[in-house]
């Protein structure tokens, strides 16, 4: 997966979690939490979905790495490079 694939994937997972989320004007550098009104339970859902789909294990101490779309891409890129 490329970085662009990964950000698309994250957006797709969030859209499944919250069908009212508005992705227009989403700034990849800014926290997803503030832009999409996500809470800590939503991030847990993202972690669970990534595990289900790609068997990726993300430990709790790494959750802050998922804060923005760009940081998601950076963190997940090595784990998803062969997908």
């Amino acid at each position: 997966m490329t970085r662009a694939d990964i950000t698309d994937l994250i957006v797709e997972i969030i859209a499944d979690i919250d069908d009212e989320a508005d992705f227009d004007n989403l700034d990849p550098e800014k926290p997803l939490r503030d832009q999409l009104d996500l809470d800590s339970m939503d991030f847990l859902d993202i972690v669970m979905e990534l595990r289900k789909r790609y068997k990726i294990q993300i430990p709790e101490e790494d959750y802050p790495q998922l804060a923005t779309l760009n940081s998601c891409a950076t963190y997940l890129e090595p784990m998803l490079k062969d997908v």
Binding site: L44, D45, M48, R51, K52, K55, Q57
Partner: protein
């Protein structure tokens, strides 16, 4: 329909012990993740303390009372839309005590207006208070108490402290001495949009949840009390029910945390350090309730959905716990609660200590319950004149009743104090594959807290099951 225990298979991926809202949610999430799940409940009915009972045509809800708006999103994501769509607002929250009598929708906007207009507090101070509680989270400073928080923002204002604290004490048993973050997290959840309930009642909610569990393939057994959680070489291997072992690499206990450690597993399986931590867990207080059914041909005026009623001069946590407390919540259920079921019921709830009831012999216990009902009717008379002539059913529950149905240590109806959360979260580090879900740490208490904690624990269990798959 629940399966009889004798038809259960010998092996599952995960066994969930207990069907409180936390256990139900963990079971549902795990099944949705593709795991084979067995749910065991000792009672004949699912729901734990989220329960109801029928008497003479009345249906009494034990813990429905009201929950925060966050329940809408939680039910949508972790249960289904039908459940979500049944959530409706309770608009009339009433306070009535010697310091003030008022009605509120119990949300930030209305509270800010009340605090300004009725209590004469500077709007800037109110704004600062809300900013503080809204941003509180689990990782913040835990040393500040709720009393200190109130004194910082509203020094010497016992009336304001009462307005802010009394409902939360009924909601989760917390006091002014508990960590301020436990108060802030729960209070701001309510203040977000107000108080909500489940239209159709607890029976309908549990029926819809049962249907969803079955759709997702969870095997449900009621009347199956787990005697022991089995372990071998530091890992759990399954559970024992009535001499029969069911094997599973993961066991999730929705029994109380103290019950889980001391009774289901046994202390010899844990390190001394962990047990010292467990020994320090304080279970929360229990409750007394009085259930009143209004005669079928009689109606009552709209007197409020929830009434926080007290004749105590000031808010006092000890007074609220006393056997003779003059403080109680009336949850009033109008026919709108269960469309099509044309009845009014009133459930009075008081916080209570197990010790005050457990030592009574049968005759004194019976008399104490009669007196409890009598005091409740006297208090209710102020809102519903001639209440005694309007009811055709009256019944009391005490901490002993809660203990009998939930098996909780000392009948606790609000789980544990804050320290229970760390023990609950770390039990799997002691015994591989063993997890706990349930009301712990005050913030995981209540219907919303219990369901969300069920999701958090399901994530831990799923992670564990997938990590052992690989080996």
């Amino acid at each position: 329909m629940p399966t009889h225990f004798k038809y259960c298979k010998d092996r599952y991926d995960a066994v969930v012990i207990g069907s409180g809202l936390g256990g139900l949610t963990t079971a549902n999430r795990l099944a949705r993740c593709g795991h084979r799940v067995l749910l065991l409940e000792h009672h004949h009915r699912l729901g734990g303390l989220a329960t109801w009972f029928k008497r003479k045509g009345h249906i009494f809800d034990v813990s429905l009372h009201g929950f925060p708006y966050g329940m809408v999103k939680t039910c949508k994501k972790y249960w289904n839309r039908e459940i979500m769509n049944s959530i409706v607002q309770l608009r009339d929250i009433v306070f009535d005590n010697p310091q003030f009598s008022l009605k509120t929708t119990f949300d930030k906007q209305d509270f800010a207006a009340l605090l300004t207009n009725r209590f004469g507090i500077d709007p800037k101070r109110i704004e600062a208070f809300f900013r503080r509680v809204d941003t509180m989270n689990f990782y913040d400073d835990r040393t500040m108490t709720t009393r200190e928080l109130f004194e910082e923002f509203f020094p010497g204002r016992s009336d304001v402290h009462r307005l802010l604290m009394e409902p939360i004490t009924y909601a989760n048993g917390s006091t002014l001495e508990d960590p301020a973050i436990t108060y802030g997290i729960v209070f701001s959840n309510f203040m977000n949009r107000g108080v909500f309930t489940f239209q159709g009642g607890t029976d309908q909610l549990i029926a819809l949840m049962t249907r969803e569990l079955e759709k997702n393939g969870v095997t449900i057994c009621t009347g199956a009390r787990v005697d022991r959680i089995e372990t071998k070489n530091g890992r759990t291997t399954g559970v024992n029910v009535n001499g029969r072992t069911i094997g599973a690499p993961a066991v999730v206990s929705n029994s109380g945390i103290t019950n889980t450690i001391y009774n289901l597993v046994g202390t010899d399986c844990f390190t001394d350090e962990f047990l010292e931590q467990a020994d320090r867990i304080r279970v929360n207080n229990s409750s007394c309730q009085v259930y009143l059914g209004i005669r079928p041909d009689t109606s009552i005026e709209m007197i409020g959905d929830l009434i926080f009623s007290s004749r105590s001069p000031v808010f006092d946590s000890a007074e609220l716990l006393d056997v003779n407390t003059r403080s109680k919540t009336f949850s009033v259920y109008y026919p709108k609660t269960r469309p099509g079921h044309d009845r009014y019921t009133i459930v009075a709830s008081m916080n209570s200590r197990y010790e005050d009831w457990s030592k009574l012999d049968e005759e004194h216990y019976r008399l104490a319950k009669v007196a409890l009902i009598d005091r409740t009717l006297d208090d209710l008379e102020r809102y519903v004149p001639e209440i005694r002539a309007k009811i055709d059913w009256q019944e009391a529950a005490t901490p002993r009743t809660f203990n009998r149905y939930t098996l909780h240590t000392r009948g606790t109806s609000f789980g544990t104090k804050f320290e229970g959360l760390d023990v609950s979260r770390s039990i799997f580090k002691q015994i591989g594959g063993l997890f706990h879900v349930g009301s712990v740490g005050i913030i995981m208490s209540g219907w919303l807290g219990a369901i969300n904690y069920g999701v958090i624990v399901a994530n831990d269990v799923d992670s564990y099951l997938r990590s052992i798959e690989k080996v």
